[in-house]
């Protein structure tokens, strides 16, 4: 790949040399020069403050983009549930046109067996020691390598910390769009319609990536519910090494206790703007403890610093699936409701008879939570034993 240099503009500042992830560029005679191994990633073009570098214009039109590529995220050798949710969605979207569904994974020591039964025709597995730790730059390079080879029409990531770190890097490399936190996807005229809440969640937006490819999205875990189509046919597995090493130095990983996690709790007491002071939150934490429920909240209280992010339900928090959710003083924004789709029974308490939460709830009480909760506890504890 020959870059186009404008010697008149190049000042030899070296910005491109520092930006090149492949170490291809160097300075000679006061100008940047290209060595072997340019991948036309464009990092130097973007880094050059003088506009002295250009990528060669694409001589032939790009291969027509088709097919769905899903980023398969593993925790160790275990595929995350969100990856399965994405695969099922991609299979449903690809079914009418018969386009292929592929998977791409980065990891170390991933067995072939991890990719059977997923219903994909090919698994691109970047298996390298560098991927034993989370290295977003190297992971993005691997996904870019796969995208170049396959030219997919769409590329789907789970909106996990890792997926949300890697996807933007890939999107910039292809100068394409990336819609965050989609809640549903469908096809319209061959385009992927990317649906997500906007403006804090009371409005939904449908986003299109009209010309750039791939069309990229991240999708929250636990919000897509497409039926599984298990397939016994093992995919073709293509094993690759890391296309280039990482810039960072991993220093270890400390697994976190999953107990007390609201995502796994069977009984949740959730509070919102109706409990908007430190004292009120403490009061409800006490109620939750006496009820044997885990306390959770809507985003409003997390933004106010009254509740930790780890206890936030919703699109920017966690998707929960309890047996029972009692929602107190929560208005019920789309952003909140996107996180409670898995709850088996939702009882909402709100003083506003028009609270949107009453539409998401199975049962609701128009009332004062500061009267109802003590009355509930009195009822339970008064009849103890």
């Amino acid at each position: 790949m020959a870059l186009i240099f404008d010697a008149a503009r190049c000042t030899g500042c070296g910005a491109c040399v520092r930006a090149c992830p492949f170490g291809v560029l160097s300075l000679a005679g006061g100008h940047a020069v290209e060595g072997e191994g340019c991948r036309a990633c464009g990092a130097c073009v973007r880094a050059c403050p003088h506009g002295a570098l250009e990528l060669p214009k694409k001589a032939a039109p790009a291969k027509k983009a088709a097919g769905f590529l899903v980023f398969l995220q593993f925790e160790g050798t275990k595929l995350l549930p969100v990856s399965l949710e994405l695969l099922h969605a991609a299979q449903a979207l690809a079914a009418p046109s018969g386009e292929p569904v592929w998977g791409v994974a980065v990891g170390h020591g991933l067995p072939d067996g991890a990719f059977t039964g997923l219903g994909i025709s090919q698994a691109w597995v970047y298996d390298d020691p560098v991927f034993a730790s989370f290295c977003p730059d190297a992971a993005a390079a691997a996904v870019c390598d796969c995208v170049r080879a396959l030219s997919p029409a769409a590329l789907l990531f789970g909106a996990t910390p890792e997926g949300r770190s890697i996807a933007p890097l890939v999107a910039v490399a292809f100068e394409t769009g990336l819609t965050a936190d989609c809640t549903s996807l469908y096809l319209d005229g061959g385009l992927l319609v990317q649906v997500r809440p906007a403006f804090g969640g009371n409005v939904m937006a449908e986003i299109l990536t009209r010309t750039a490819r791939p069309q990229m999205v991240t999708v929250r875990p636990g919000v897509l519910h497409y039926p599984a189509k298990p397939s016994a046919r093992p995919p073709r597995i293509l094993r690759r090494a890391a296309p280039y090493p990482t810039a960072l130095r991993p220093l270890g990983f400390a697994p976190q206790e999953q107990t007390g996690d609201i995502a796994g709790a069977k009984f949740l007491l959730a509070i919102g703007n109706g409990a908007a002071s430190k004292e009120q939150v403490a009061l409800f934490r006490g109620y939750a403890e006496r009820l044997g429920a885990a306390l959770a909240s809507s985003r409003a209280l997390v933004e106010k610093g009254l509740m930790p992010l780890s206890e936030q339900i919703g699109l920017s928090g966690k998707a929960v699936a309890p047996e029972l959710l009692i929602a107190c003083g929560i208005s019920g924004s789309v952003q909140f409701c996107a996180g409670i789709g898995g709850a088996k029974r939702i009882i909402a308490i709100n003083s506003d008879p028009n609270a949107p939460i009453f539409s998401a709830a199975h049962e609701y009480i128009v009332g004062d939570m500061y009267e109802l909760l003590p009355a509930l506890l009195e009822r339970l504890e008064g009849t103890a034993g």
Binding site: F134, V203, R210, P250
Partner: protein, 265 residues
Amino acid sequence: MNIVVCIKQVPASAEVRMDPETGVLLRDSAEGRLNPYDAVAIEAALRLREEGDTLTALAMGPAAAEKVLRFAWAMGADRAALLCDRAFAGADVLSTARALSQAILALGGAELVVCGRQTTDGDTAQVGPALAAFLGRPCACWVQSFAREDGGITVEQALTGGVGKAHYPLPCVLAVDKTACVPRAPSLKRKLAAGKAALETLTLSSLPDCDPAHYGLLGSATSVKRIFPPERPQRGQSIGGTLAEQAAYLAAAVRETAKEGQPWL
């Protein structure tokens, strides 16, 4: 070294409702405020600044966004620059990240760029890593703690199932989480002086790449097909009656799901 902290002015209330009949967006107020995640980013940048470093606060937005830059200056930033041009209007993540990365180059480059985890209006958490990609540097997202050492920044990041620790050599980009540190209140002295602090203004023509087709709506890869009020499913069942009857109803529901070991079971 040069440190740039990228900040944004967001609507004071992130909650916007849509009139389901007319499709008109109903904004509570046009008041702007500093994106709450960015106050943490400014604080992180101040703590990472060492003797001899220059910390520049950078915001893209309308002229009114100078308010948040003055706040960043009051908190302790050395310089403040507003990237303001009609050419940037309607930018998506790609186009925003490109503009910010170019503005950083126009400011003389930066060894360290600090961003907040996300904004409360766009809510994507993608601009930080995307601008890092434009600058050709690694980006640490979900940063819970940070320390400047050994020619780089050692961070702890909230990842799936735990906390990862890594050393990101300079130059790099950090996107810090809200829990990373507590933003300081500006001193009264700087607060009073902030109104007169000199702000730099960057326009399209200030950028190394000043092709208008690369920015704003023109340079965006995504477009909005339509916006619509979310569907509200049928309301649930109303539980009426007296307070005592409602409490009894709740108690029955709780008894069904409560875990063993509750004293009242």
